[in-house]
């Protein structure tokens, strides 16, 4: 397992400038297997995020908390890395760059920081790139298996489900694995696979690269990559006849409208949202409406008290009581 994880890490290094990738190749194997983010910032020490903590990397590949001995990233490293991640073709990633990230083969995502230029009230381009954040996608097959019992209904359908979690607690990973389970079907519950329409606005769920999903989402999935939830909902409902629509990080008024459209069409929904509890969600007007209308029948609350993806609670959407056992 660790061997596979190290392989994923080393594939990502192919997209990083030679000088920096040679340093990153020297870090200890237990870190290689667990690195979540590699951060390159112009003129600042090389930084990685790993096992819930951030570290600096020295010229010799040693891991340290001391920023003063970290290997300094140069402007040239940033330029070369950006050329590698954009495959020397900025024009081919125009839309992604406007959204602030590029998705790599393997579903890894590179966030871009720099000077943002506007035209007609819209982001036109990012230039003078000053930082890059490479988020390594690590598919966790089976992480949602224990949760499926809460969301599967006996009549071969599911309860509308909302996964609630603070950032970096694994909500996207769990949603992705749930999609895979629902699309594959679950023998244990005599649940036959359903058609799942995925609105992947941030290209994180499927990690599409050249039209191919880089993560296993099962055989009955249709993905709208980079599409906003409102447009995506209408497109899926009109043309793809999904049984379930899955979407990541809902929150805006448009998203709530999209959810109402989904319900009108008799389609089930599974989604994620930033938050730490139902009370927290209630403080946001658009989400409060969804809670009061009892749209979602299951709330899965995550945190990282026992590591990323800890299931803190599972709440019934009618009684608002815990059903976790």
């Amino acid at each position: 397992m660790q061997y596979r994880e190290i392989g994923i890490y080393e594939n990502v290094l192919e997209y990083i400038s030679l000088e920096i990738s040679q340093v990153l190749k020297k870090i200890p194997p237990e870190f290689k297997a667990n690195v979540e983010e590699i951060r390159l910032r112009n003129g600042l020490p090389l930084n990685i995020y790993c096992m819930n903590s951030d570290y600096f990397v020295t010229e010799d590949g040693l891991i340290t908390k001391n920023k003063d001995i970290g290997k300094l990233v140069t402007k040239q490293d940033i330029i070369k890395t950006f050329q590698l991640i954009s495959n020397y073709s900025v024009y081919a990633f125009e839309e992604e760059i406007k959204n602030g990230f590029i998705t790599l083969k393997g579903g890894h995502r590179v966030g871009i920081g720099g000077k943002v230029l506007y035209k007609n009230n819209e982001v036109e381009k990012i230039k003078n790139i000053s930082s890059l954040n490479i988020r390594i996608a690590r598919e966790k097959i089976g992480v949602s298996n224990k949760l499926m019992q809460y969301i599967v209904e006996p009549s071969n359908t599911i309860y509308n489900t909302l996964i609630v979690s603070p950032p970096k607690c694994g909500k996207t990973t769990i949603l992705r694995d749930m999609i895979r389970n629902l699309s594959n079907g679950l023998e244990k519950f005599n649940f036959k696979g359903l058609k799942v329409g995925v609105i992947d606005e941030r290209s994180e769920l499927a990690g599409m690269y050249n039209g191919i999903a880089q993560h296993d989402l099962g055989p009955r999935v249709d993905v709208l990559d980079g599409c906003n939830k409102k447009d995506g909902t209408m497109m899926l409902l009109r043309a793809m006849s999904p049984d379930i629509i899955a979407m990541d990080e809902i929150g805006s008024r448009d998203d709530v409208e999209a959810i109402h459209e989904i319900l009108k069409a008799g389609v089930k929904i599974i989604a994620t949202v930033h938050g730490s509890s139902i009370e927290d969600l209630r403080s946001r007007k658009s989400l409060d409406m969804l809670i009061r209308d009892k749209i979602f029948k299951r709330y899965i609350i995550l945190d990282n008290s026992k590591g990323i993806g800890t299931v803190k609670d599972v709440i019934d959407g009618n009684s608002f009581t815990s059903i976790k056992y």
Partner: protein, 154 residues
């Protein structure tokens, strides 16, 4: 003695003709290759501006669709690019640039135009790339006119 004079005269005439032919051919080959290079740049423009095809793939497409007499240089640029991680795009063009004078009869100005592709390609959005291509194609037009004049003179 008379025979020797005739032979040496013939030798002079023959070698002068050969040199003349060689130089004449060089000028006409330059013009022909500039035309093929122009075609290749137009293919590259289509791939990038209208297809948004990533550069390595676009360079291969230019090689496949263009006239092989010239288009092979684009495949070489691609392989330089992919095999030398430490090198930038300009470096990949530069490695091929030196060959152009020997193999394609290009002048330093022609090579400079080719190298400017290495400075411009891929580093900006499609509308910028389009403007750059327009400029390059104008420049190649001037070089072609110049090559035609040279050819007719020689």
């Amino acid at each position: 003695m008379g025979f020797l004079k005739i032979l040496s005269s013939l030798l002079i005439v023959f070698s002068s003709s050969l040199i003349g032919y060689y130089y004449g051919n060089k000028y006409s080959l330059r013009l022909e290759n500039l035309l093929y290079l122009e075609q290749c740049i137009k293919i590259l423009e289509t791939e990038i501006v209208y297809g948004a095809i990533p550069l390595p793939e676009a360079l291969t497409n230019v090689y496949l669709k263009g006239n092989k007499k010239v288009s092979y240089i684009f495949e070489e640029v691609k392989s330089n690019l992919l095999n030398n991680k430490d090198e930038d795009l300009y470096g990949s063009f530069y490695r091929v640039g030196s060959k152009l004078i020997e193999e394609l009869n290009f002048t330093k100005e022609d090579v400079e135009l080719f190298l400017s592709l290495g400075r411009l390609l891929g580093s900006s959005d499609r509308s910028d790339q389009e403007k750059n291509f327009k400029l390059l194609l104008n420049q190649i037009e001037i070089l072609k006119d110049e090559a035609l004049v040279e050819k007719n003179k020689n």
